[in-house]
Symmetry: C2
Subunit: 182 residues, 2 copies
């Protein structure tokens, strides 16, 4: 998808909106309500996830939902109101893999401008190799670097995060990586 | 404010929504349209900004708009669709201060859960000490550390970012700081 579909009706009063420059000096067209004058803002969304590590292995989840059903991903999903980025990443790891983790540092911050998203991944240490995947996941399993299904990964940000992870591990030092993905 | 006000009407068809658990296994109440079944998601927003540096001095802007009109801030604002976090930070620096900068590394990532925001600040080098503030700014000026108006700063995230900046500068090494603000 390219962004979300346009807003058609006012969230306050239900009147059909028009896209135009607001009257407050704003330089971008917004969905403005001609009846109650509510201005609707649409902004990028954060996707938060983890790189869960068990010894030499990394946990991947086989997706059971679209998009990319059947492809492999790191546990991740949309950040919710009422939680921090790290709390959201831990929640998604629990929901998608049923994995027990200790959260470590923020590891990748990636802009995916085409879809209006910022992806933030944290490194995490698995506290157990027993998983309990939720309905969004067909299978959760550990992969050694040599066995990572590179051609069957769900998202470019998962690939980039894994590449950064293995490169840093070889160097013996983890640091934050910021990337822009076309 | 605490988050945004609740959604009252469906963005697709204008019908009054109800907050309930959607039928897709989601575990959070969302604004769901009883007529066309659209589920409305509300998520945290990113605020992006810079720490613009000129020699020993840092650029601050005196706000000309609410909230915190008359208080001092680093240039920052809501990230927009169609831009990266760094592009948004540079745009805000241009809009609020009319400052010419070279962007440096991502410096702070701060969760402000109470208002549903993530603030991301980049360090930046000013290319000139001539500024051209927009309508959102009463005054843009350079401050030495000793002169920073700590009691007149607009936002806690500005204070924390400045504290991290001066501490790292004293140490002679800048690194990413992640903070959660109550």
């Amino acid at each position: 998808m390219n962004f979300r579909s346009p807003i058609k009706h006012c969230r306050e009063c239900g009147t059909a909106v028009v896209y135009r420059l607001p009257d407050d000096g704003d330089t971008r067209e917004r969905a403005v309500c001609p009846a109650c004058h509510t201005v609707h803002y649409e902004n990028p969304l954060n996707v938060v996830g983890t790189v869960p590590v068990w010894g030499e292995q990394v946990l991947l989840c086989k997706r059971n939902i679209e998009p990319r059903k059947g492809k492999w991903t790191l546990p991740a999903g949309f950040m919710e109101l009422g939680e921090t980025t790290a709390e959201g990443a831990a929640r998604e790891t629990d929901e998608e893999a049923g994995a027990q983790i200790q959260m470590l540092d923020l590891f990748t911050v990636m802009n995916v401008v085409r879809v209006g998203q910022v992806h933030l991944y944290y490194r995490a240490t698995l506290l157990s190799d027993r998983f309990n995947p939720g309905y969004e996941t067909q299978e959760a399993r550990l992969y050694h670097e040599a066995d990572i299904p590179w051609d069957e990964l769900a998202f470019r940000t998962v690939r980039e995060t894994l590449l950064c992870f293995f490169a840093d591990r070889r160097r013996g030092r983890f640091e934050l990586h910021t990337l822009d993905i076309g």
